[in-house]
C-alpha cells in the first residue's frame, strides 16, 4: 500500500492544485471537495465564536452575583451560543464531512446535484450572516435555542431578534433539506460498479440515515418557524394564548424536529468513529450489519420520542408512559453500537494515534451522556431534573464530548487526505489530554449542580451556596483549559497545513475508497477505481493475489446506474 509514495506525483498539497487557486474558484466552485472544505472551515469558525460566547457565560457564572454581562445580554448570549453551536457549527460540520467524503467513499465523481450542493452551502452562509446581523439590527434573539412560545410572541420580545432567528433558521433549514436530498440521491444512484449498499462504508450508512432524518424532520421546524414569523409579522395567533393560540403546539412541532435533530447531529459522529476504530485496531468492524441496522432503527425511533422533552407540561399519564417507554427503547440500538465499537477494539493491535484517542474518549463520554439521557426517560427523575444544569451537562456530554470529539477524531483522521499534510501528533496529544481534562472539568460537575437544583439559563446565583459556588468556579476555570486546547487545535491545523509532513495516499493504511486516490484528491477524484468486491476494497487490492472473486460482481442488489445517464458522468 505504501509503495504509492515511490511513484512521482507533483501535487501533494491542497494549495498546489491549479483548479483550486484564486479566491474566485472558491466562490464559484461546485466541486464537492471544495464545498466540503468550505463547510468545515465555516463550521470551525463558528465553533470559535460559539466558544467565545460560552466563555462569556462561564465568566459571568464564575462567582456569585457577578456583573460581567447584563441580564439581558446573558439571555442573548446563551441563545446565540445554542443556535450557533447547533445550526451554524454542528450541522455544517457534518454536512462538510459528508459532502466531502460520501462521493469519495462510494467512488463517485461528485454529488448527484453539484449546483444544489453549492446552493446549500451559500444559503447556510447567508443564514448565518443574517443571524449575526441581529446584533446590529436591534438586538439578538433572547428566547433560548428552542425559542419557546409565548415568550417569542411580539408582546413579550418586541425587538426583532426572534425575527432574525426565525428567518435565519428557515433559510438554513431549506438549505439543509436540499443537501439531505442531494446526499440520499448521491448514495442511491452514484455508487461505483460493485459498490452495493452492503459494501458501502458504514459512515455512508449513517449519513444516509441522517439525511433521511434531515429531509423528514426539518419541514416540521420550517412549518413552525413560518407560524411564529406570521404570528410576529402578520399578527396571526398560532401560539398566542391571549387569542386562543397554543404554546404547546410550538413545543410539539419543535421537538418533533428537535429530537431527530439530536440524532442528525450524533449519527455522523457514530459514522466517523466507526471508520476510525477498525483502522487503528487493525481489525474489521465487529457486527457491521448490526451497526447499519441499529442506525436505521435509531432513525425510525427518533421520530417517536419527542414528547420526553415535554414531560413537565402536564401531559396525560398514558402519553407519559408511551414516550417514557420509547425513550428507554431508543437506548438499545445505541447500546448495540457502543458494544460493537468495544468489540472491534477487543484483541486488536491498537495504535493510539490522536484520532484513535479521540474516538476512544468519544465512546466513554458519549456513554456517560447517553446514560444521563436515559435518566430523563424516567418520569419522576425528569420532573426533578428538567430545566436544571443536569440537562446542560447531558447535552454537552452527547454533543461536545460525543459528537464534537468524534468529529475532531475525524479531522485528525482525514486531514492528511484533505490537505496532503499530516497533523502534528505531538501537538495532537497535548490537545487531546487538555481537551479531555477541560471538557470533563467543565461539565462533570454540572450533573451535581443540576441535582442540587441550579436552574439552567440563570444569569447569576446568590452568595452562601457552598457547593454551587465551588462547582461553578471549578467549571469556569476548566472551561479555560478547554478553550486553550481548542486554540492548540487550531494552531495545529494552521501550522500543519503549511509545514506538516507530506502524507502520501494512505498514511493510516486504511481500507475504504477515499484512500485509493491521491492526497489531496484531484478535482476528478479518481484516475481509475479499484474493483470493489467487499467492504474493504483496498485490503482486497493488496491481498488480491490470494483470492480474486469476480463472482461477487453478480450481486443481486441495486446495481449502480453508471450507464443510465450518458454524458452526465465523465
Amino acid at each position: 500500500m505504501t509503495e504509492a509514495s515511490g511513484t512521482h506525483r507533483p501535487i501533494n498539497w491542497l494549495a498546489e492544485i491549479p483548479e483550486y487557486q484564486g479566491l474566485w474558484s472558491w466562490v464559484t466552485s461546485i466541486d464537492h471537495k471544495q464545498l466540503g472544505i468550505m463547510y468545515i472551515t465555516s463550521a470551525l469558525f463558528f465553533f470559535l465564536i460559539g466558544l467565545v460566547l460560552a466563555l462569556m457565560m462561564r465568566i459571568q457564572l464564575m462567582v456569585p452575583m457577578n456583573h460581567f454581562v447584563s441580564q439581558d445580554s446573558y439571555n442573548q448570549i446563551f441563545t446565540m451560543h445554542g443556535t450557533t453551536m447547533i445550526f451554524l457549527m454542528g450541522m455544517p460540520l457534518l454536512f462538510g464531512f459528508s459532502v466531502y467524503l460520501v462521493p469519495l467513499m462510494i467512488g463517485a465523481r461528485d454529488m448527484a446535484f453539484p449546483r444544489l450542493n453549492s446552493m446549500g452551502f451559500w444559503v447556510y452562509i447567508f443564514g448565518a450572516l443574517m443571524l449575526y446581523f441581529s446584533f446590529m439590527g436591534g438586538g439578538a434573539p433572547a428566547a433560548g435555542w428552542f425559542s419557546y412560545a409565548p415568550l417569542t410572541e411580539k408582546g413579550f420580545l418586541s425587538n426583532p431578534g426572534v425575527d432574525y432567528w426565525a428567518l435565519s433558521l428557515l433559510v438554513i433549514g431549506i438549505g439543509s433539506v436540499a443537501t439531505g436530498i442531494n446526499l440520499i440521491a448521491t448514495i442511491l444512484t452514484l455508487r461505483a460498479p460493485g459498490m452495493t449498499l452492503q459494501r458501502v462504508p458504514l459512515f455512508v450508512w449513517m449519513m444516509l440515515t441522517t439525511s433521511f432524518l434531515v429531509v423528514l424532520s426539518f419541514p416540521a421546524l420550517n412549518a413552525a418557524i413560518i407560524m411564529i414569523l406570521f404570528d410576529r409579522l402578520l399578527n396571526t395567533h398560532f401560539f398566542s394564548p391571549a387569542h386562543g393560540g397554543s404554546p404547546l403546539l410550538w413545543q410539539n412541532y419543535f421537538w418533533f424536529f428537535g429530537h431527530p435533530e439530536v440524532y442528525i447531529l450524533i449519527l455522523p459522529g457514530f459514522g466517523v468513529v466507526t471508520e476510525v476504530i477498525p483502522v487503528f485496531s487493525r481489525k474489521t468492524i465487529y457486527g457491521a450489519g448490526f451497526l447499519a441496522a441499529s442506525t436505521v432503527a435509531i432513525g425510525f425511533l427518533s421520530f417517536g420520542v419527542w414528547m420526553h422533552h415535554m414531560f413537565a407540561t402536564g401531559l396525560g399519564f398514558s402519553v407519559l408512559y408511551v414516550f417514557a417507554l420509547s425513550s428507554l427503547f431508543i437506548a438499545v440500538p445505541t447500546g448495540i453500537k457502543v458494544w460493537t465499537w468495544i468489540a472491534t477494539m477487543w484483541g486488536g493491535s491498537i495504535r493510539f494515534s490522536t484520532a484513535m484517542l479521540f474516538a476512544t474518549a468519544f465512546i466513554i463520554q458519549f456513554t456517560i451522556g447517553g446514560l444521563s439521557g436515559v435518566t430523563f426517560a424516567v418520569i419522576p427523575l425528569d420532573w426533578q431534573l428538567t430545566d436544571s444544569y443536569f440537562v446542560v451537562a447531558h447535552i454537552h456530554y452527547v454533543l461536545l464530548g460525543g459528537m464534537m470529539f468524534a468529529m475532531i477524531s475525524g479531522i485528525y483522521y482525514w486531514f492528511p487526505k484533505v490537505t496532503g499534510r499530516m497533523l502534528s501528533e505531538k501537538l495532537g496529544k497535548w490537545h487531546f489530554w487538555l481537551m479531555v481534562l477541560g471538557f470533563n472539568g467543565t461539565f462533570l460537575g454540572m450533573h451535581i449542580l443540576g441535582v442540587f437544583g441550579m436552574p439552567r439559563r440563570v444569569w447569576t446565583y446568590p452568595y452562601g451556596l457552598p457547593v454551587v459556588s465551588a462547582l461553578n468556579l471549578f467549571s469556569s476555570l476548566s472551561a479555560f483549559v478547554l478553550a486553550g486546547s481548542i486554540v492548540l487545535f487550531f494552531w495545529n491545523m494552521a501550522h500543519s497545513f503549511v509545514k506538516g509532513k507530506i502524507a502520501g495516499d494512505n498514511p493510516w493504511e486504511a481500507w475504504t475508497l477515499e484512500w485509493a486516490t491521491t492526497s489531496p484528491p484531484a478535482p476528478e477524484n479518481f484516475d481509475r477505481l479499484p474493483p470493489v468486491y467487499s467492504r474493504r476494497p483496498l485490503w482486497d487490492l493488496t491481498h488480491a493475489a490470494q483470492e480474486p472473486k469476480p463472482a461477487a460482481q453478480e450481486s443481486t442488489h441495486t446495481e449502480p446506474d453508471s450507464g443510465s445517464e450518458p454524458g452526465e458522468q465523465p
Binding site: A112, F113, L116, V177, G180, I181, N182, I184, A185, T186, L188, T189, L190, V215, L216, S217, F218, P219, A220, N222, A223, A224, I226, M227, F230, L234, N235, T236, H237, F238, H243, G244, G245, S246, L249, Y253, T558, P560, D561, S564, E565
Partner: protein, 183 residues
C-alpha cells in the same frame, strides 16, 4: 429501486413537503373546535368544490401529457400540457375569488384563529400550485420552442410527480377544511 437521480430527488422533495403540509394541516385540525363554526359559516364547499374538480382533473391531463411524451407525440404533449396549465389557472382563480369574498367579509389572517390557520394552510397550497404552474410553463415552453427531445421524459416525470403531489395535498386540505362540517 429508482435509479434516476432526478426522480429520486423529486420524490424526496415531495416527501419532505408532505411533512411540511402535515404540520400545517395539524395546526388547522388542532384549532378546529374553535374555528369549525366560522369555517361552516363562511366557506362555500360547492363553489370551491367545482374549482377543486379543475385541479383534480388537471392531474389526469398531466398523466395524459406524460404518456404522450413517452410515445413522443409532440402535438399531444403540447395539448395536454396546455390543458393542465389552464385547469391549474382555473383553480387559482377560484381561490382568488374566494379570498376576495372572505376579505370583503372582514375575515383576515389576523382576525382570529380561523383566519390564521385557514389562510396559512390554503395560502401555502396556492403558492405550491403557482410553483407547479411555473414548472409546467417551463415544460410547455420547451415543448413549443425547445429542441427535439425536450422536454425530456425524466423532466416530465418529475414535474408530474410534483403536480400530483400538489393535487393530493388539496384532496386532504379540501376534505379537512371544507367537508368536515358534514361529519
Amino acid at each position: 429501486m429508482i435509479k434516476n437521480r432526478v426522480l429520486v430527488g423529486m420524490i424526496l422533495f415531495v416527501a419532505s413537503e408532505s411533512i411540511f403540509f402535515l404540520m400545517l394541516v395539524l395546526a388547522y385540525v388542532h384549532f378546529h373546535n374553535v374555528t369549525g363554526a366560522t369555517a361552516a359559516a363562511q366557506l362555500d364547499p360547492i363553489k370551491t368544490g367545482l374549482f377543486s374538480i379543475a385541479l383534480f382533473s388537471s392531474s389526469f391531463t398531466m398523466w395524459l401529457a406524460e404518456i404522450a411524451r413517452k410515445k413522443e407525440n409532440a402535438a399531444l404533449v403540447r395539448l395536454w400540457l396546455f390543458t393542465t396549465i389552464a385547469l391549474g389557472v382555473t383553480f387559482l382563480t377560484g381561490q382568488g375569488i374566494e379570498y376576495a369574498r372572505l376579505l370583503m367579509n372582514n375575515i383576515t389572517i389576523s382576525r382570529d384563529l380561523f383566519g390564521s390557520t385557514f389562510f396559512t394552510l390554503t395560502g401555502f397550497h396556492g403558492f405550491h400550485v403557482l410553483i407547479g404552474l411555473l414548472l409546467l410553463l417551463l415544460m410547455f415552453g420547451l415543448a413549443v420552442a425547445g429542441r427535439k427531445d425536450e422536454p425530456t421524459h425524466v423532466g416530465m416525470q418529475s414535474v408530474a410527480i410534483y403536480w400530483h403531489f400538489v393535487d393530493a395535498v388539496w384532496l386532504v386540505v379540501f376534505s379537512v377544511v371544507y367537508l368536515w362540517r358534514y361529519v
